[in-house]
């Protein structure tokens, strides 16, 4: 009996032979063991080391000393926002502040919710330190720093820093709100995102009461669970907040200006690349989920429809779909369709990627053993509940790497927009070299800059997916 008893702490410390051996090795031992363990490995290591050092040296010298970054510096606005009217750029600034607030609100609410859970269950919550965040987002922060270094005035830097400050302030504010405010916070963040896009695209063709109705709905939902001592106070408060929402939207519309000075089609440069691929990623996921479920459905009509959709859009090159969206839609709907080119591009992008993503998701669904479903049935669960609570969580967790791979490739596919004369980030980079002074110079510099921007964002996406995988314990359970 005494043998199976766990040894006490002191016993362990008194008997070093029972401690795990120290596996740390000094750098010199590691090198001797891995790089110079025989003569040909030593030779290869030396050659590779010299070549690597030379490459780093030449590239570093190019970036820091010999590179002529004037082409990027002078055209930074073109690269970032393309043809968006220069005297309307305050709209983009305003949007960034609104988005930062919405993100801060979301982040704060998410953190607060997990703290709530920790409080309820008594399980200690690991909170990320600033170092953790730096490690997670260093690529994007580095990208921001590079862009800001290339700016010509101090304003973009001040603006970026203040945007971050606004986001952080809103976050800490949101964390201090009472629990009953969690859901209204989500509503408010979504509403702010919608409004921010109305700011950048102008309000033309968009009746103010449409947004006002949305705001009123959110106000109504948010105040549904109000607790007051006097019954009529609650009603008065609800009516008051709905009225306030409507008034605020009307004033906001008056501020945004009901003019036609900007439209969706003015979105371009890196802004368009990010918005279009972001929208496609967000929209294609639920669509892909429905398609994947539909393809496995036992109803023949649903199955055939989903199979047809997937096979058609997976079988047609993206560029063909883009041309159809740009040119042939006009033949069917007439020249003055209200569908802007940007809308069409995003729709085509979503359709295309959802067909691919659906197959990825289906792969995940097939990986879930049938016994899991049967177990759910044995427990008396309804089919939708089995799907939602048992199958999907396992299926989606299994395909995170494949899905993120799809998202990254989608993000880079946005370079194909150039073929339908949409000025995305890469097209803006090409246009620099149509200008008289850069026709034949600085081509490598702009390429390196473009590659860096694409890399920084793709790398962060991949990093976040790895974190999500760790968080959900993929490969461990």
């Amino acid at each position: 009996m005494t043998d199976t008893m766990p040894p006490s702490e002191t016993a362990l410390q008194n008997n070093p032979s029972r401690l795990p051996p120290d596996m740390r090795v000094s750098p010199s031992t590691w090198m001797r063991k891995n790089l110079f363990n025989n003569w040909y490995n030593a030779l290869i290591s030396v050659v590779a080391g010299v070549v690597g050092a030379l490459l780093v040296f030449y590239f570093g010298r190019f970036v820091l000393v010999t590179g002529e970054w004037e082409a990027v510096r002078k055209n930074l606005t073109l690269l970032m926002t393309g043809v968006y009217p220069r005297n309307e750029q305050w709209r983009l600034v305003a949007q960034m502040y609104i988005i930062a607030s919405a993100l801060g609100l979301t982040w704060g609410t998410v953190t607060a919710q997990s703290l709530d859970r920790a409080e309820d269950t008594g399980v200690e919550k690991h909170r990320p330190t600033p170092i953790d965040l730096l490690r997670r987002y260093w690529a994007v922060l580095f990208m921001l720093a590079v862009i800001l270094v290339l700016t010509q005035t101090i304003w973009p830097t001040l603006f970026t820093l203040s945007t971050i400050a606004v986001g952080l302030t809103v976050r800490s504010g949101a964390m201090r709100l009472p629990r009953s405010a969690r859901q209204p916070c989500w509503y408010a963040a979504a509403f702010m995102a919608i409004v921010s896009f109305q700011v950048v695209s102008g309000t033309n063709g968009n009746a103010w009461w449409w947004t006002a109705a949305l705001a009123a709905f959110i106000a109504m939902q948010s105040t549904a669970n109000l607790e007051t001592t006097v019954a009529w106070h609650r009603t008065a408060l609800r009516i008051g907040s709905i009225a306030a929402a409507v008034v605020v939207v009307r004033i906001a519309y008056w501020l945004i200006g009901d003019t036609s000075s900007v439209s969706w089609d003015d979105w371009s440069g890196l802004y368009l690349t990010l918005v279009a691929s972001g929208a496609a990623i967000i929209l294609s996921f639920p669509l892909a989920l429905l398609l994947a479920l539909g393809r496995r459905s036992s109803l023949p009509v649903v199955r055939w429809l989903c199979v047809t959709y997937i096979e058609i859009f997976r079988g047609v090159p993206f560029i063909v779909l883009l041309f159809i969206a740009k040119i042939f839609i006009d033949f069917f709907l007439g020249a003055d369709t209200p569908l802007s080119l940007t809308t069409r591009t995003i729709v085509v992008f979503t359709i295309f990627s959802s067909a691919y993503l659906a197959e990825v998701v289906r792969g995940g669904l097939q990986a879930v053993p049938k016994g899991q479903i049967e177990a759910g049935q044995a427990a008396g669960m309804q089919p939708p509940a089995i799907m939602r609570l048992i199958v999907l969580p396992q299926a989606l967790r299994a395909v995170i790497p494949a899905m993120v791979g799809q998202f990254i490739s989608l993000y880079k596919d946005s370079t194909l927009f150039a073929f339908i004369s949409v000025v995305d980030f890469y097209r803006a980079r090409e246009l620099i070299h149509s200008q008289q002074e850069f026709t034949t110079t600085a081509i490598f510099e702009t390429l390196v800059f473009a590659a860096f921007i694409y890399w920084a964002i793709s790398y962060t996406m991949s990093k976040e997916s790895q974190r999500l995988e760790r968080h959900l314990g993929v490969g461990e359970r």
Binding site: L299, K326, D330, G334, D336, P383, V423, S434, Q435
Partner: protein
């Protein structure tokens, strides 16, 4: 299981019913929205579906383009964004160039405001389809007037704004001076243009073997040429002039443009086939720039003209007795004043872009100076 399937079927049925209702609502919306704005109703276009298959161009062309443009409040002009001098998106995010100014002239004539123009960049390959589908009403995209384009492409070529010709450029160090020197040479050319066709036609006719190296645009072609991927590059001579200047400015090799031109390239304004009213509007708006030049009017003096030349008085819309003059083109009386004040006369526009070369004594000079710029009298 049985129960859930029947429930799902019921749900599907409900969805289909909804979509039927939605579809019928959609149709109602279409007809009510379009009926007041246009002479041709959607039902008319739908009825002519059989004809439309034979000539799809007609489908997008309802006539009444001028009214459509007036209703919308701006004119959309197809152009490009990558040729300095003709049409370029500059580092301020604005379009500039000779072709862009011609687009602005149309807007100035119709609305009295040259800024009421939306530039729609298109690639060479898609331009005629985009024009036919109605993405823009006017196209100034250094497009050569050819019989096939006038016929099969459903394009209607108007006034020629720039007489060009295709040339060949080689590094001066090669010593090449004639086409025969280019035997077995790699020649850089942009794809989907008449440039490519001309090159093949001329070299085949003279039985000179060569390798065309094609590019989608000049932004990739020129660097490739500079790196020596080709022994020669070909383009319209105006474009070659731009790149010769730039390459030499940047410290590249000296360049030589062969004196022999291998084609005629009349570049001009293009509209869709089938709407003569609109064609007249665009044509006279464009020609006003040349007419003003011929009269000696420019952006500084046309607004304050106080002479008595009856032709000029008609041109500026004052009329000979001060009672106005309007030839019934569908434009305001004083459209020419707006065009010239806001965009300039032909000479001013041309000289704004040094990349286009020297106007004086060239083929693009006024007819009275021995050039080809000749417009019908405005009376």
């Amino acid at each position: 299981m049985q129960k859930s399937i029947s429930r799902l079927l019921a749900l599907l049925g409900l969805l289909m019913a909804f979509s039927l209702i939605a579809a019928s609502c959609g149709n109602d919306d279409d007809s009510s929205a379009d009926a007041p704005s246009n002479t041709a109703t959607p039902s008319a276009t739908a009825d002519s579906g059989a004809d439309a298959e034979a000539t799809p161009i007609v489908l997008a062309q309802n006539g009444g383009t001028l009214q459509t443009v007036l209703d919308r409040g701006n004119v959309r002009c197809g152009s490009r964004d990558d040729v300095p001098g003709f049409a370029l998106l500059n580092d301020a995010g604005e379009y500039e160039g000779f072709d862009i100014d011609m687009c602005r002239a149309v807007a100035a004539a119709i609305f009295g405001d040259a800024d009421e123009v939306e530039i729609v960049p298109v690639t060479s390959a898609e331009r005629f389809t985009a024009l036919a589908s109605g993405q823009f009403e006017v196209m100034n995209r250094n497009t050569t007037w050819t019989a096939t384009r006038d016929g099969d492409e459903g394009a209607n070529f108007l006034f020629t704004t720039y007489y060009d010709g295709q040339g060949i450029m080689v590094p001066a160090s090669t010593g090449f001076t004639t086409l025969n020197d280019l035997e077995d040479a790699n020649i850089c050319v942009s794809t989907g243009t008449t440039t490519e066709l001309n090159l093949t036609a001329v070299f085949q006719a003279r039985q000179i073997p060569f390798n065309p190296v094609t590019f989608e645009g000049f932004d990739t072609l020129v660097p490739a040429y500079e790196e020596g991927q080709c022994e020669a590059m070909t383009a319209d001579s105006s474009v070659l002039g731009v790149f010769k200047y730039e390459i030499e400015q940047d410290g590249g090799d000296d360049q030589h443009i062969m004196t022999e031109l291998i084609s005629k390239e009349p570049l001009g304004t293009v509209v869709r086939d089938g709407d003569t009213e609109w064609a007249q509007v665009v044509n006279w708006a464009t020609m006003a720039t040349v007419q003003a030049w011929e009269f000696g009017l420019d952006s500084s003096n046309i607004g304050s003209y106080s002479g008595t030349d009856p032709n000029i008085l008609n041109f500026i819309g004052a009329g000979q007795d001060g009672d106005g003059f309007n030839p019934g083109l569908g434009l305001p009386d004083d459209f020419a004043v707006h065009v010239v004040e806001q965009v300039g006369n032909y000479e001013e526009i041309f000289n704004r872009y040094p990349q286009l070369g020297v106007l004086e004594g060239s083929v693009n000079d006024l007819w009275s100076n021995g050039g080809l710029m000749y417009v019908p009298p405005y009376r």
